[in-house]
């Protein structure tokens, strides 16, 4: 997945800092970070760690006190903020749809500001409703109050995507949605991202959501300290410090099973010549999903890429390079 992503940087933060007047400490201490084009980056941390402030500085809803923000090779720190925001998708937990406007009008707002003609905008609205799984004929003319929370956030995502911005900022977009619908929205959103390949910065306080969605995860500690910025896999197998270790919580090894694929693990595991019916899997499937199938179908042997591996070898090969002094 990551090798298909261009290594060109989409967002570059240079010593970005926020301090509110008459406060002793920085709300966000100087932060530098690079986010690549097409990358899905999740900011995660306890409340008050400055992750939302950081996110809102990228589209300058909060003006940084110091530092520079580069987007797509351009220093946007001193450009017109309204113009900047029209080219960055923005999704928030409370959705914030305009209650007095229809779904279609809500989605049309940014294209209108960018001067699109009516026909192009209308076609785009239908295309987007399709994209987020809402039937245009049914939902176009509805008002936000006539939608469920999950449907509202789908419209929120469609609205953010309206003018096809290369960059999306999402502040706990699924946080207010009930767990079952949230899980489905996450899956659908991942599938959507596979197709549209936006650069996404996503804020959550839920480490499971971060591990599930992020290509890379930035874990913030209290006082806006960036504790670790790495892939889910690296974070689970090599937590940078005690804070990260306690934040990812117990069962890090179990969680690791859902971020590694059977393809890579089978390469490290010894082959078996034990007879018996094997379960075959695709190399890109996560170990956890494959194990689940093996358990429910009562198979002890996995066959992937022509190699037969025992369940227990698969398990230990998955978590084998984990380093956890505790």
């Amino acid at each position: 997945m990551s090798d298909s992503v261009a290594t060109e940087s989409m967002i570059r933060l240079v010593e970005v800092t926020k301090r509110y007047p008459n406060t002793p400490a920085d709300a966000v201490r100087p932060l530098s970070m690079e986010i690549r084009r097409g990358e899905f980056v999740v900011f995660v941390g306890p409340s008050g760690c400055g992750k939302t402030t950081m996110l809102r500085m990228i589209n300058r809803l909060i003006e940084p006190t110091a530092g520079q923000i580069w987007i797509d090779g351009r220093d946007v720190t001193h450009t017109d903020p309204d113009e900047l925001r029209r080219h960055i998708g923005y999704v928030i937990q409370q959705v914030g749809l305009m209650p007095h406007m229809s779904v279609a009008r809500n989605i049309s707002l940014v294209p209108e500001m960018l001067g699109w003609d009516k026909r192009r905008t209308a076609a785009r609205v239908d295309e987007l409703l399709d994209l987020v799984g809402l039937e245009p004929g049914t939902f176009r003319a509805r008002y936000p109050k006539q939608l469920s929370g999950g449907q509202q956030q789908r419209v929120g995502v469609a609205r953010a995507l309206a003018a096809d911005p290369p960059l999306m900022l999402m502040d706990e977009p699924f946080g207010a949605i009930d767990p079952i619908a949230r899980d489905r929205l996450q899956d659908e959103f991942l599938a959507l991202q596979e197709r549209i390949r936006k650069t996404i910065v996503f804020v959550t306080h839920d480490i499971d959501e971060a591990l599930k969605l992020g290509d890379r995860i930035a874990i913030f500690a209290e006082g806006s300290r960036l504790a670790q910025f790495d892939t889910p896999r690296e974070i689970l197998s090599r937590p940078a410090d005690d804070f990260v270790r306690s934040f990812i919580g117990e069962r890090a090894a179990i969680r690791l099973l859902s971020v590694v694929t059977v393809g890579e693990v089978a390469g490290r595991a010894p082959a078996t010549d034990r007879p018996g019916e094997a379960l075959s899997a695709q190399p890109e499937e996560p170990v956890s999903a494959v194990l689940d199938r093996m358990l429910t179908q009562n198979r002890q042997i996995l066959e992937v890429g022509g190699k037969r591996v025992l369940a227990q070898d698969l398990l230990f090969a998955s978590t084998g390079d984990r380093q956890d002094p505790a």
């Binding site: 928030i92 937990q93 914030g96 209650p99 007095h100 936000p144 109050k145 900022l169």
Partner: protein
């Protein structure tokens, strides 16, 4: 003579004064609307000034109307001008108060989303904040209008126009022929004007509020 035959006999005068009353009220409310919206707009970034203005206009409302009309006589004399002025003073508070309440009541997450998608402050005001505050603002106009319909009757005390004339003349010669009928016709006509205006406001509310806010 019974009340109904009195009314049919004097219909021309009553309806003339009624139209005068209506015009008086509408002019006062219109002036108050311009003043209130101007005050609210001017204090957009001055919350303390706004709070002070609101409590000041609220205080004006507590001045008894008879006293206020009397106070205006030395400055503006008798007649139409002091009447309109006094009524405007009364109508400012409900309109300004409701405009502020309406604007403050707009869901902050909607404003955040509007800012986040790159709407300028002007766009946010006209596309988002005013339409969402509108039902509350309109209600301020409605309260002000009904209040002023009643208060306008006192305008007759300073020789102002309107239905107050019927009440004052009737009462001043109570016991005389048709005195009670005259006063009563003024009272009833005022109630009718108030009811009609109220219905008009309900209709305006229905017509100008987005369907999305009703559901």
């Amino acid at each position: 003579m019974d009340f109904f035959s009195y009314v049919s006999q004097h219909w021309e005068r009553i309806s003339f004064l009624g139209m005068q009353h209506l015009q008086l009220v509408l002019i006062a409310v219109l002036c108050a609307g311009v003043v209130s919206l101007g005050l609210v707009a001017a204090t957009e970034r001055l919350p303390r000034v706004r709070a002070a203005l609101l409590s000041f206009t609220g205080t004006l409302l507590t001045i008894p109307s008879f006293a206020l009309f009397a106070l205006l006589i030395p400055v503006f004399g008798l007649g139409v001008l002091p009447t309109i002025l006094a009524l405007t003073v009364y109508a400012v508070f409900p309109i300004a108060r409701n405009t502020v309440t309406g604007l403050e009541g707009v869901d902050p997450s909607v404003i955040d989303a509007a800012r986040g998608m790159g709407m300028s402050a002007t766009r946010r005001l006209f596309l988002v904040r005013l339409p969402l505050a509108w039902p509350v603002i309109l209600n301020g106009f409605r309260v002000a209008t009904i209040m002023v319909v009643a208060t306008a009757a006192i305008g007759a005390a300073v020789n102002g126009p309107g239905l107050g004339e019927l009440i004052f003349r009737g009462l001043s010669r109570i016991g005389g022929a048709n005195a009670l009928n005259e006063a009563l016709s003024g009272v009833v006509a005022i109630a009718v004007v108030a009811a009609v205006l109220d219905l008009i406001f309900v209709a305006i509310g229905k017509l100008t509020t987005s369907k999305g806010l009703h559901v």
